[in-house]
Subunit: 330 residues, 2 copies
């Protein structure tokens, strides 16, 4: 039997796009995934194609079609004009469906919190913190991208790793254990030129693609930090600047729940087993802290709230459990 009209929620991330089809009762009926849906990273055309692919995957797994969708929520980073509503509606073949665009960080927040007011800090390739109240963004700190900000992000860390290794290979900086890790990670082979052969190879790699690829080197800083002073200084500074970003966004609202997301935070700074006691741990002391892995559940929560459904912690638990069942079954 067909649903009377379902919610399609899409989380367009920098590496993956995820889509879910959700009933009015907050049960996930279908799940789909595809590649990057970030228009800044891959361009609008490829991003729209990724949204459409994830959406059809989700609809197909629910045995539904575009006509069954009553509402679409798209969670995405970046400015609205890069991926505007009409283009999205056209790519999804749902021109007349109610459409909502939500900041990706709001979706990340609602993936782990149903409280109308709260805070999120996400540090993956980029870095941003925001404070919300009733789906409205009250304050944003950073999130200004790799050239202007994203302090403490994967790109920010990866760039510092690359610069430290370049200085080491150049004999203008301190020796660092990061050099061996970067050479291995990138498979660098000595190259000819008027510089040292491995620096020549690093230079050739660095400029042969999108700058944000440098985020790939960020995990090496966490791998080396226990034994290498340069790596430890980089991760400590990342932790300090992210703690500052969080402090600035929380200012006077320390009672609000805090949702953390992004690989730098979840798999880096606050990874299980990592020595703690750093700036972020101190900033979070006493706070109601949760983590989120992506924003797809939160995008659906945004949709449910907008359609005035009752949303409580049971709703989120039901939604999350049913998403996980389909995701792991797929």
């Amino acid at each position: 039997m067909k649903e009377p009209g379902v919610l399609l929620a899409i989380d367009a991330g920098g590496s993956h796009t995820r889509a879910v089809v959700v009933s009015a009762g907050a049960e996930c009926l279908g799940y789909g995934a595809s590649s990057s849906g970030n228009a800044t990273a891959v361009g609008a055309d490829q991003a729209l194609a990724a949204l459409a692919e994830a959406a059809s995957g989700a609809l197909a797994s629910a045995s539904l079609g575009p006509d069954d969708v009553r509402q679409v929520v798209l969670a995405a980073a970046g400015e609205e004009y890069l991926l505007h509503g009409r283009a999205v509606a056209q790519a999804l073949a749902m021109p007349a469906v109610k459409y909502t665009r939500a900041p990706d960080i709001l979706a990340m927040y609602h993936s782990s919190a149903v409280e109308p007011a709260g805070v999120a800090l996400v540090a993956g390739t980029g870095a941003i913190a925001a404070r919300f109240r009733d789906l409205v963004t009250e304050r944003v700190i950073d999130g200004t991208g790799w050239l202007l900000g994203d302090r403490g992000s994967g790109f920010w860390i990866g760039r510092k790793v690359a610069r430290a290794v370049a200085a080491d290979l150049d004999d203008t900086g301190e020796p660092t254990g990061l050099t061996r890790l970067v050479i291995e990670e990138l498979g660098l082979q000595p190259a000819e030129g008027y510089r040292s052969p491995l620096l020549q190879a690093l230079v050739a790699w660095a400029y042969d693609g999108q700058p944000v690829r440098l985020a790939r080197l960020a995990p090496l800083a966490f791998r080396a930090e226990a034994t290498d002073e340069i790596a430890a200084a980089i991760t400590a500074e990342a932790e300090e600047v992210l703690a500052r970003t969080l402090r600035l966004v929380r200012e006077g609202h320390d009672e609000l729940p805090v949702v953390l997301g992004g690989s730098v935070v979840v798999r880096g700074l606050l990874a299980p087993g990592r020595m703690s006691g750093g700036a972020l741990t101190r900033e979070l002391a006493g706070a109601d802290v949760r983590t989120a892995h992506d924003g797809v559940a939160g995008a659906a929560i945004v949709g449910l709230r907008r359609s005035r459904a009752t949303v409580d912690s049971d709703t989120l638990a039901r939604l999350t459990r049913s998403i996980d069942e389909l995701r792991n079954g797929a």
Copy 2:
């Protein structure tokens, strides 16, 4: 009467390409110019077209043709494979002519020095220092590009300016007089979004083109430094890192002449009337210092030296004077 065979020297810069036709007696017979010939900045095809345009301009102004050229010297930044000899010879329609590729910084050095051994520091959009002996590069410091190094360069300064302004507009950093200058320079208009309207506009500008465009903001730091602490801190740090780059390349060779080039040094740090006494002034104390505006004369000097012509300070003076006559007449 035709020359028995002339030298064609080309300096392929980031903003301009310049070409000269030079006689065996070091007289400039023709001058031509075109747009950027930097393959990293504009791509190999456009770079080759710029070389060809500047070369035909120089040949035409000398009333000569490709068959009159005995030797070609190309001074260019970056790696040789980006603009390889065969492609250059083809673009110039001079497949059988003796061809030499020289690092752009060597050409800059020989634009103001005929001593076989010496040092150059160039900080324009990028930043590099090198030490030479008999046309061979003995040591290179930095020049690793905007992602990995170029410490103290126009991009490096411009990025710090942009980040300081973003932090000011964001209320996460100190207020700075740079903000008004950047708004005026870029003609920023308040834009919609969930950030402050001018920050939104700055973010939109920053990512709408080549990252190295941020070098455009570097002169603002020098304009503001007398009255703004943030600007003064940026220019002071640029001076310190460039002084360090120079110190590392000179190490143990303080007797060598030093040629300085690039807008950050010539029109910024060491501009007439700027308060001196900074790190670079101190590093240069007692040194034999000269400045160079571009590398086209030096590219010709490299060619004359390679063809075993006698090259002394009279040669360079004659060459420079005859280039200037044609350049200013053109």
